[in-house]
């Protein structure tokens, strides 16, 4: 599972450009599922047919990134970004478009900055991608407006139990959902890999109509704010303290029965867990729970520090325990108790 996570994190798949990730997952899922297909929007479905409740595990394939807006006269590229703090992109290496043209996001050298410039945070509109082009015409030989831009960070294991990578949000969920597909559960089971979550849960809104789930389990990477200056009630989650169970996020209030069932699952199976203490931030649950005539939805997340940056950090044990928690929930048929 960890090897797959590494491969998944290293693939580039900014919202709307999930093809590489989808191909990788599809190739593995087809050996486990009865049926694998892709819908019009690009959501990937793996169906393991069974009797009983229609249960869906859901993870999003897309990651935050940038898109080329156009080339300037001097060959630098202007870009737009979604969900990325401009402070984290300066001096980062990126790759652009289907051919993965290398580039770097530059800014004025420290020698040339005034005191005022030095203390000012550059916005995405003041930053440019340098691909080594000599002018606009040269740049447009290699890239086109609308090409996607991804960070190049490679997945690495470090410390006793940690990993750092881009796109842990939500390749952790993708890897877990893939692993669940290997098992047999006493239900009609779908693993769904959605597109464009980071832009506003767009893929999930369509996917839910194709599956019509009764119970959905959302597998996510979530924010960890266990930083020195933050007080306990502002941590949201802590890296290494176990997978996080949600009672609420910006788009969902989890039904009490589901919240309790997830906590009970963890306790019964002896899996460490924490409660996700934040009430902000959205997940595909927000689109899924209220679609059609309503669906019971719960969330299991892997805490990630520095989320939505080129290098986020998570605990390998949290990741493995998140899988165990999802697996135990399904194995013990908790989906029958939450409706």
């Amino acid at each position: 599972m960890l090897g797959r996570l590494e491969a998944l994190c290293n693939l580039n798949g900014v919202s709307g450009d999930e093809g590489r990730v989808r191909r990788y997952i599809r190739d593995i899922a087809k050996d486990y599922a009865d049926e694998v297909w892709v819908d019009t929007m690009g959501n990937l479905y793996a169906h393991k047919k069974g009797e009983g409740r229609r249960v869906m595990a859901c993870a999003h394939m897309d990651e935050v990134g940038m898109i080329v807006w156009g080339a300037m006269d001097n060959g630098l590229l202007a870009y737009q970004a979604g969900g990325i703090d401009p402070r984290v992109v300066v001096s980062k290496r990126v790759v652009i478009g289907p051919d993965e043209v290398p580039g770097v996001i530059g800014s004025k050298a420290i020698h040339l900055q005034s005191r005022e410039e030095f203390s000012h945070v550059l916005g995405h509109n003041e930053l440019f991608i340098d691909i080594g082009a000599k002018d606009k015409a040269d740049a447009l030989k290699y890239v086109n407006p609308g090409d996607y831009v991804s960070f190049t960070t490679k997945w690495e294991r470090y410390g006793e139990d940690k990993m750092k990578a881009k796109a842990l949000d939500d390749r952790v969920g993708c890897a877990i959902a893939l692993e669940l597909l290997k098992n047999s559960y006493d239900c009609d089971f779908y693993a769904v890999f959605t597109v464009q979550e980071e832009l506003g849960l767009r893929g999930a809104q369509a996917a839910v109509y194709n599956v019509k789930p009764e119970v959905a389990l959302i597998l996510e990477g979530t924010t960890a704010n266990d930083m020195p200056e933050a007080e306990g009630h502002q941590h949201v989650t802590k890296v290494g303290a176990g997978p996080a169970i949600s009672f609420m996020d910006g788009g969902t209030i989890v039904r009490p029965k589901m919240f309790e069932a997830l906590k009970r699952t963890a306790k019964e199976a002896g899996i460490p867990f924490q409660i996700r203490q934040g009430t902000r931030g959205g997940t595909d649950a927000g689109a899924i729970h209220k679609a059609l005539s309503g669906c019971i939805t719960g969330g299991i997340s892997v805490p990630c520090r520095y989320i939505h940056s080129p290098s986020s950090v998570a605990s390998i044990r949290d990741f493995e325990n998140a899988y165990k928690l999802a697996d135990s929930f399904l194995k013990t048929k908790k989906f029958d108790e939450v409706l």
């Binding site: 009764e214 306990g232 009630h233 502002q234 941590h235 009672f247 609420m248 788009g251 209030i253 989890v254 039904r255 009490p256 919240f259 409660i275 203490q277 934040g278 009430t279 902000r280 729970h289 209220k290 679609a291 059609l292 005539s293 309503g294 669906c295 019971i296 409706l339």
Partner: protein, 334 residues
């Protein structure tokens, strides 16, 4: 004359967004004797059905949920940290008595080190439930539990003040109407969940019911208090027929239908344009291939505070208007 005891018990029932079971049970007890069928759906919406003869379906909807404070952390000294559920004003939430679903009471205050109460923010708020350690607090309250304001039911002539008038007063109005109405159409009285956090329950109910017409009942703001924002709606001038709010533009055919129903029975009404704030009306309108959807509101002052204030004449007008609307043979159509 209206059933004041019913109104008071619906107002007093615990029920923040996502935790509506208690208020659902209270409302169920009032509608069950008059309904052909009563059930809760997956999200917890309470639906009471009263059959008619026309073969058409009219949905009435009022939301059961109220705003609240959800526990996100419990510190070592037993203080609870909270986040808002719905549109909670942190300043209004300082120095309040609050209660939890299991009956635990507490009081709210804020971190006083940096500034006064007028600048209090949600992360600075805490709830004191009388516990001195984390363990003692956890024996009473868990992370994820939700507190609501404890409020009084105050009668001031024809006016009443209470927390949770938004939207329990409209739930009570739907119950009143449901008891007495002479409906020609099948009426689905839907008491919805999670309106305050983004109109999340009503759409799912409408999806399942597929009504020919939806009429939501909610509270709306007024423009009749000292130096408030401009708005034409006044307390005591009748129920409103909504023109628009931030979630919906009511189709003119639906507006005209409600206005005619009111005029036909000499019921006082006023048109309503609400600039900030959405209602279930909008969520239902955009369900499936589109559903004709309108809204009758009860003008209310000081919304989302523990002293929401309304006029019972407007309440009775809203009840009469619902009854008049569901008795009309001809429903609006495109």
């Amino acid at each position: 004359m209206f059933d004041k005891d019913m109104l008071k018990s619906i107002l007093a029932a615990y029920g923040p967004s996502g935790r509506e079971q208690t208020v659902s049970d209270v409302i169920r007890s009032y509608v069950e004797p008059f309904a052909d069928e009563v059930y809760n759906d997956t999200l917890g919406n309470l639906i009471a059905v009263k059959k008619g003869t026309s073969g058409k379906k009219v949905m009435l909807s009022a939301h059961m949920d109220q705003i609240g404070l959800i526990v996100v952390d419990i510190d070592e000294k037993g203080f609870l940290r909270v986040s808002n559920v719905g549109g909670v004003n942190p300043v209004v939430s300082v120095a309040r008595e609050v209660k939890f679903e299991n009956g635990t009471h507490g009081v709210t205050y804020f971190e006083t080190e940096k500034h006064g109460a007028k600048d209090a923010t949600m992360p600075e708020l805490f709830v004191d439930i009388g516990a001195t350690t984390r363990e003692e607090a956890e024996a009473k309250v868990q992370i994820g539990d939700v507190a609501v304001y404890v409020t009084n039911f105050v009668e001031m002539g024809s006016r009443v003040s209470s927390g949770a008038l938004d939207d329990r007063i409209a739930c009570a109005a739907v119950v009143e109407a449901f008891r007495t109405m002479q409906n020609v159409h099948d009426v689905y009285a839907v008491f919805t969940v999670q309106e305050e956090v983004g109109l999340r329950g009503a759409g799912a109910a409408a999806y399942a019911i597929e009504p020919d017409l939806n009429i939501s009942l909610d509270v709306t703001g007024t423009g009749d208090t000292p130096k408030c924002g401009r708005m034409s709606v006044k307390l005591g001038a009748g129920a409103t027929v909504k023109v628009m709010d931030s979630s919906v533009i009511v189709p003119p055919v639906v507006r005209a239908f409600l206005a005619e129903a009111a005029d036909g029975k000499n019921i006082r009404w006023q048109p309503e344009v609400l600039r900030a704030g959405g209602t279930d009306t909008g969520a239902v309108q955009r369900t499936r291939g589109g559903i004709l959807s309108g809204c009758i509101s009860i003008p209310t002052r000081y919304i989302h505070s523990p002293v929401e204030t309304a006029d019972m004449g407007d309440y009775e007008a809203a009840v009469q208007l619902v009854c008049a609307a569901v008795a009309k043979q001809e429903l609006p159509h495109r």
